[in-house]
């Protein structure tokens, strides 16, 4: 899932300090699961902002709502009648949701209350670890199901580098060396031949905004033309 971390309170205060009527919009999907921007976190932030602004002698009228998802038009439509009552929106969705919200209400300033941190697994309650950078050219079949782009600090395709330290990455003893792990797993599977060949330079797919249209589908405007 997509994980995010709530921004420091002072930063959020600074972002909306000039606005008197603010709607806090949560998202009930990924950021709710990772405890950053769901219904509960919306309630906490709204209360904090209310108190903070009162203490700063700059009271604010706050509303709050948590949508099922901010990355789907159907759910954003719920806000259509509400937004006109506010002079700013705070989104607690991931960067995708924040932008889709801003796109739907282009006349209203939208501010992020979270920093989106990646595509991660849930290791335990409140503990998430990134696993995918959505590079667009998956090599997991060659690397024993361990992503060198994400899990190697240098994103090497022909690792391990010389900084491997007793199985850890050179940046941090707590960070396993991805290429050491790739080696160990492929060895156990008898598949070391997968990494004997030099991998050629990556054809990066994530350097321009990407649009995905699945086979059998077209963009609506294209269909009309």
């Amino acid at each position: 899932m997509i994980v995010a971390k709530r921004k420091p309170f002072d930063e959020i205060m600074q972002l909306v300090k000039g606005h008197k009527k603010v709607l806090v919009v949560g998202c009930g999907t990924c950021v709710a699961v990772c405890l950053a921007g769901g219904e509960k976190e919306v309630a906490v932030l709204t209360t904090e902002l209310d108190m903070g602004r009162k203490l700063a002698n700059n009271p604010v009228a706050l509303g709050s709502i948590t949508l099922e998802r901010q990355c789907d038009r159907e759910y954003l439509a719920q806000l259509d009648g509400m937004v006109k009552d506010y002079d700013a929106l705070i989104s607690m969705a991931c960067g995708v949701g924040i932008q889709f919200l801003a796109e739907r209400f282009p006349d209203t300033p939208v501010f992020p209350a979270v920093d989106t941190c990646g595509l991660a697994v849930n290791q335990d309650v409140g503990w998430y670890e990134e696993r995918c950078r959505s590079c667009g050219r998956c090599v997991l079949g060659l690397t024993g199901g361990i992503c060198p782009v994400t899990m190697c600090a240098k994103g090497l395709y022909n690792g391990p580098c010389g900084g491997t330290n007793k199985g850890s990455c050179e940046i941090n003893a707590d960070q396993p060396c991805a290429w050491n792990a790739i080696y160990e797993r492929l060895k156990a599977q008898g598949r070391l031949d997968c990494i004997l060949e030099v991998q050629p330079p990556q054809e990066w797919k994530d350097t321009t905004p990407r649009t995905l249209i699945q086979p059998g589908y077209t963009k609506p405007e294209k269909a009309k033309a």
Binding site: A153, K154, G155, L156, Y157, N158, G159, P160, C161, G162, G163, T164, N165, K166, G167, E170, I171, C177, N180, Y183, E184, L192, L196, E197, V198, Q199, P200, P201, Q202, W204
Partner: protein, 307 residues
């Protein structure tokens, strides 16, 4: 000849090569490079010019390489993948060659987190293996990485590093093989302290025929003090400093530790000269350039061959 560099000539003539290293200054004084170069001139076959080593900003390695050429020394231009993308790399390779640089060392580079700009974005558009292949393609096929023709092939003697001591040990010789198949002409290893492990690594490389395909230069860094040895053992990733090195330095008075460190290095060099598969020594006397003349002399490396 692939490049006509002095290092290439020394190695192809069958001499035991001896290379040095020089870290560019953290400032714009060319004089700093010239001062260090004095100690290396005539004592080594080629001098590695580090590229923002340990991710600290320094004078560009190509620029310090040019100063070295002005001083009559031969540089081995180091290039890391951390700081530039494939366009910048190929442009720098062409520029370096145009201005007389003939050796290159292709490296991944230490992570930005180690240096003075820890939040910088590491580029790593291509990795060291792919950089080797890029230089080879430019030199031998006269083509850019894209496949387009280039006019004026860069004549570069292609080098890379190998760390026989980092995990997983049994994979290291295969990684060396990959670098050779990517196109390296010579290898300079990480600083060697664990001789038993290095002997095993070279034995594997010999068995696989790798030492016939590329020249392996053994990396030597004399310990300046017990503190340095302890630091390298504990803090430098991928460094293997056995306890016997620590205890040898512990066994002498504080003011004799540097001498003991040099003695250890000299013993290593003597063994490397006789070791099958080792074509030379790469002396990394870190901020100790002024001791290179003495070490070269005592190691029996002087005079350097004129080829």
């Amino acid at each position: 000849m692939k490049s006509g560099s002095n290092l290439e000539k020394v190695l192809t003539a069958g001499h035991f090569a001896f290379t040095g290293e020089l870290g560019p200054p953290r400032g714009a004084h060319a004089e700093e490079v010239r001062k260090k170069a004095v100690f290396l001139k005539g004592r080594v076959d080629s001098v590695n010019i580090t590229d923002n080593q340990t991710a600290m900003v320094r004078m560009a390695s190509w620029a310090a390489s040019l100063i070295l050429i002005q001083e009559g020394l031969e540089p081995n231009y180091q290039m890391v993948c951390r700081d530039r993308n494939r366009l910048a790399m190929q442009a720098d390779i062409l520029g370096a060659c145009a201005l007389g640089i003939r050796n290159m060392l292709c490296l991944s580079g230490d992570h930005c987190q180690f240096g003075d700009h820890p939040t910088a974005k590491g580029v790593f558009d291509i990795d060291s293996m792919q950089l080797i292949a890029t230089v080879k393609k430019m030199r031998d096929e006269g083509k850019f990485l894209s496949g387009a023709d280039l006019d004026g092939k860069p004549q570069i003697f292609i080098g890379a590093a190998a760390n026989p001591f980092a995990d997983p040990f049994e994979w290291r010789v295969h990684r060396l093989a990959k670098k050779i198949s990517a196109g390296v002409d010579f290898i300079q290893t990480q600083c060697i302290y664990n001789m038993a492990k290095f002997r095993e690594f070279i034995r594997q490389a010999n068995d696989m025929g790798l030492t016939e395909k590329a020249y392996i230069l053994a990396g030597v860094t004399p310990m300046k003090s017990l503190g340095m040895a302890k630091y390298m053992k504990a803090k430098v990733p991928g460094m293997d400093v056995p306890d016997e090195i620590i205890s040898r330095l512990q066994g002498v008075a504080r003011d004799k530790q540097a001498e003991e460190g040099i003695k250890i290095a000299l013993e290593q060099i003597a063994e490397f000269k006789e070791m099958k598969g080792v074509a030379g020594v790469h002396l990394m006397a870190i901020e100790w350039e002024h001791r290179v003349p003495e070490i070269a002399e005592r190691a029996g490396m002087l005079p350097r061959p004129q080829v």
